[in-house]
Amino acid sequence: MDYYFTKEHEWLRLDGQSGLVGITAYAVEQLGDITFVELPRPGREAKQSEVLCAVESVKAASDIYAPVSGRVLAVNEQVESGPEIVNQSPEEEGWLVRIELADPGELRSLMNREQYRDYLEGLS
């Protein structure tokens, strides 16, 4: 399955016209234990790089930005009641939002896994 990544450490996993959005293992490691996830309303129109939702951890509250523009189709209600799922499985079970892509052309502005790995190396 194809993962796309942003510089703000969100991932997008595409399946067809829509994809799941979450935060990367690196982001979770930086944040520490996540204590609260605030998800958007399904149906909301999100714009690329604008705030999509927010997570709070023992260290900080952080905005999560939409990796692509589109309509929010569904949210992962399980992480609302159990935010530890994001820590345990950030890139699988801990997904946050399913988003319907408005413009597949936007994918070109995202990184693939290899590029993201290089980007992380540049950060440390």
Partner: protein, 491 residues
Amino acid sequence: MELIFEKSAPGRHGTVLPKSDVSPAAELPAALLRAEPAGLPELSELEVVRHFSNLSRRNFAVDTNFYPLGSCTMKYNAKAAEEAVRLFAGVHPLLPYLPAGESFVQGSLGVIHQLSQLLAEITGMAAFSCQPLAGAQGEMAGIMMIAAWHRSQGQQRRFVVVPDSSHGTNPATAALVGYEVLTVPTSSAGDMDLDVFRQTMNNEVAAVMMTCPNTLGLFNSQVAEICAIAHGHGALVYCDGANLNAILGKVRPGEIGFDVMHVNLHKTFGTPHGGGGPGSGPVGVSEKLLPFLPSPRIAQRSDGSYYLAEPAAESIGRLANFYGNFGILVRALAYITMLGRDGLVEVSEQAVLNANYVMSRLKGWYDLPFDTGCMHECVFSAARQLKQGVHALDIAKYLIDRGFHPPTVYFPLIVKEAIMIEPTETESKETLDAFIAVMIEAAQLAETNPEALFQAPRTMPVSRLDETKAAREINVCCSWVIAGEERGLRI
């Protein structure tokens, strides 16, 4: 330690009250009467005194321990300022509203007026309102005034610009007042990235919020240019004065080009803080924002007497009951007048010297992401210690065992494993040396025996608390047993 409720014994009391000669049942509607007693603890006066004295001894306070909490300026609170407050005990806040009542409170009104003027002189702003009850409320008042000013110019703007090193209250304030927040990254020198700032600015930006000096403990040498760029776009510039302690008597933000500024009396001007408060966050403005200041304002007649001025039509209104946290205003005025101009200059010089001393002594042991001379605080990173699995939090907990309140950790957010140390001017070299020795000890333990740090604190009444559980399961419940019966209060 037992809760005060657990120490309760039926029928015990500290005071004998006279028998009531009023029947509550006759005076109050039945719906307002208690069906059962309130469940208050029953103790003698001595038991109450011992309970709270012993509780207080388990706490860290500036009066007992070095408290280098970065960005909080935990300086010594002079006891003479506490004496000053006693002079005003018994003054009723409604007095100036009564016919001729003003004459009874000239001293109190004078305190507020004089403090406002002194703050204006110290910061270079045109005038201050001492109403805001905390720094964050001062910020909100400031951004509300900026919004009101734009409206008076026939404009409704959308954005507030903040650097990514800002205090969390800055973007929170902007959002609360209804603005969208645009964040500008920090350059490798530790300043707001000027190129990105230029690109971010547009004519929809209402305000730029800057902390001066910033939360990395650095004075932004381009701050005048930032103000000029913002003004060029018709935006106003807000100064978060949390770090004023570094520049007292050296720099006046009003002269740099800041339009609005709040100061924290409980930081810079030595009033109680951190559980001992309340706080106070007076807000000052430049000439053009004068009409928007909160009301009521205290003014002075030509004969020298003080009165409550009629609010200006453009005022953003009342922010607090009466005049703000008046007792705190008295303490701050006492502090400023005790030190005088030369004393305040010495405050900032000594605060900066102390921080630079700590920085230079520790920089061989901890990473220093922005390695330039600092102002009143220095920000290290425990990135080196993290390689051994030791986090900034472990070092903070170890310091508690060794008798020091931890520095601020994990702030500013842009520094990985941040450790932010603000010693303040009121600490001696001996205290700083003792703290430095323990910080070095922690760095050595990270290399040789990290386990010792993971287990800290070991000498305190409670060991390491589970912060995650506390944040994830916010079920605060206070329960106790009286005479075999469990009682409780769920919040």
